[in-house]
Structure formats: C-alpha cells, structure tokens
C-alpha cells in the first residue's frame, strides 16, 4: 500500500486513525504499509511526506505550482492602490 492510500484510509475512518495513534505498527501491518513509507511517516517531516505523496499521485510541476498559488498574499486591499484600500 502506498503512503497516499494509507493516509486516505485514515482520512476516511477516524476510528482507524485513533487506533493508529494507539497501535501504529499494528495498523500499518494490517493495511500493508511499506517499510519506506513507514519510515517517512515516522520521521514526521511534512515536506518529505508531501514530496512522496506528490510523487505517488504524479502531481506535475504545473499542478504543484497551482497549489503554491494558493499561498500568495491574498488579502483584497493588497490588490489596490493605497488610496483605494478599504
């Protein structure tokens, strides 16, 4: 099972997520999570998880850029000249 599939299973089942917090090895065993994916999840580094997931989901450079666009400064008065700012 890929990391993406594993996380989607947890996302769809809060009880399973709760069980994972108590018994991570057992849940990972039951779902067949691979060793490399376990190590990544165990390390808990968000950017590394994101890179792995994007790779698994075949998120291309353009799509990744679109997700980054969400993060640009987005408050409305920044679009306007100072005199127009509400």
């Amino acid at each position: 099972m890929t990391l993406s599939e594993f996380l989607l299973r947890l996302a769809a089942d809060p009880d399973l997520l709760e069980q994972f917090h108590r018994e991570p090895t057992r849940v990972a065993d039951d779902l067949g999570l691979g060793e490399e994916q376990r190590a990544l999840l165990g390390a808990g580094q968000l950017e590394n998880l994101r890179i792995e997931i994007h790779g698994e989901l075949k998120v291309g450079e353009e799509a990744a850029m679109i997700f980054w666009l969400h993060r640009l400064p987005a408050i409305h008065w920044l679009f306007k000249a100072p005199d127009d700012a509400a």
Binding site: L10, A63, L69, L72
Partner: protein, 247 residues
C-alpha cells in the same frame, strides 16, 4: 431565474477528519460539490465524498491575477445555483478565514435571492493554538497576513502574541519555483527586529494536513529568521515579549 441554494463549508486542515458533521450533511444534501483544496491528497478525498464533485483548482493559473481567479471561482459556484441547484462549495481550513471568494459567493447569492449560508470549520489558527499550546485570551493575539503586515504598517503590541500568515510568500506577487520561497524574510525580520530582541524565540509553524503526521514546529531566535527556509505553508508565531514560545 430559478431559486437555488448555496452552502459554503470548510474541510479543516487535516484531510478527512476535520470536516464537521454539520458540513458533511451539507455535502451529502447537495446536488453538486465544488471545491478548492490545497493538497492533491485532499482532492482525492474530496472527490470521494460526492458522486458529482468537481475541483475548481484549474481556475488558478500562473500569470492570471488574483482578482480574475477569485471572480472565476465565484461565478463557477453561482452558475449552477442560478440554475436552481443546491450547491455545496468546500474550501480548505475555515471557509471564512483567508478566503475571499467564499464570502463573495454567499453575498452575491443572497443579493440575487438564493438561500446562502456559510458553516464554520477548523482554521489553521485553531490548529496553531492547539499544537503550540497557546491561549489567545491570555495575553491577547494579533493576526496578520505577513505581506499586509509590512505593506500597511501599524502599531504592534508586543505584550500580545503575534501571528503572521504566509511568511514564505511575503512580498511575493507571483508564484515562485519550489524551494525558492521565503526570499524576502530578511525584510520581515528587519521590521520585527525594530520591535523584538534578536534573541526572542519565534516559531515557524505549519499545521499538518496529513492524518497521523505531526505539525511542523521549528523554533529559532528572531535574528535567525532571514536564513530560515520555511515550508510554503508556514506561519510565523511570535510569543509576547518577555515570555518564551509556548510548549
């Protein structure tokens, strides 16, 4: 024009498990689910919630102005509402926090005579309070977009906590290549060093969008901020002056 209905919901930050029962009911009751999400994995989860689920992410395009993107999102939401459909529009986090098209869609739908409402959800700031052990009522807490904080200078009460959003994109008008974000942190740090000591401990924080993964919490002295390499989604938390960063 047919009378439609719009419910705007938030999916929370952590994929799957922060959608409230109230919002889930709104998703289930809708004729169509339209969504804007920040993680490709979240797209997969959202697409599984409704047989007619459609991402609006394609409306974001490099080189297209934010005003145009937001107008396109609002109109994409309202078009089926005007046709009489019951639409649920989902945004990540809280749909009313740092989300302009959601407010605009609700306001415009109401003005046109449709039923429209927004339901509350878990915001990134809610996650920050939980993960960092911060009670905003204790000393007070001010919260700004990082670019807005610099673009519109205002008095800062350093005895209260300060939360600056989107620090990795501070003063960035356009998308940048992966790994190139955070290039203007020196400008932000210079402003903050007028207010706080160089040793003041600050926190680069990112709420985890992934079930079973912890939040990112990086503590550093303010003086080290220009050299920091925050994740694109990072938030900067400054505890009140005279205190350490919370647990």
């Amino acid at each position: 024009m047919a009378r439609g209905a719009l419910t705007v919901v938030g999916t929370g930050i952590r994929i799957g498990v922060q959608l409230t029962p109230e919002s889930r009911a709104a998703v289930d009751a809708a004729d169509e689910l339209l969504y804007v999400n920040a993680e490709p994995l979240g797209d997969h989860w959202l697409a599984s919630l409704h047989p007619r689920a459609r991402s609006l992410a394609s409306l974001y395009r490099p080189g297209v102005s934010r005003e145009q993107v937001y107008e396109a999102i609002v109109e994409a939401i309202l078009e089926p509402v005007r046709a009489g459909a019951r639409i649920c529009a989902a945004f990540y986090g809280h749909p009313g926090v740092f989300v302009r098209p959601s407010h605009e869609a609700v306001a415009r739908a109401r003005a046109e005579g449709h039923d429209a409402r927004m339901l509350p959800a878990v915001s990134a700031e809610d996650c920050l309070f939980a993960d960092l052990g911060v009670d905003p009522a204790l000393d007070g807490c001010a919260s700004y977009d990082a670019t807005g904080f610099l673009a519109r200078p205002r008095p800062v009460d350093t005895t209260a906590a300060l939360v600056l959003w989107q620090v990795a994109a501070v003063l960035e008008p356009h998308a940048v290549a992966a790994g190139s974000h955070g290039g203007n942190l020196d400008v932000l740090a210079a402003r903050l060093l007028e207010l706080y000591s160089p040793q003041h401990e600050v926190v680069l924080y990112e709420a985890s969008p992934f079930p079973a993964a912890p939040a990112l919490v990086e503590r550093l002295p303010l003086a080290a901020l220009p050299e920091a390499r925050p994740t694109p989604q990072a938030t900067l938390y400054l505890p009140p002056a005279g205190t350490g960063a919370a647990a």
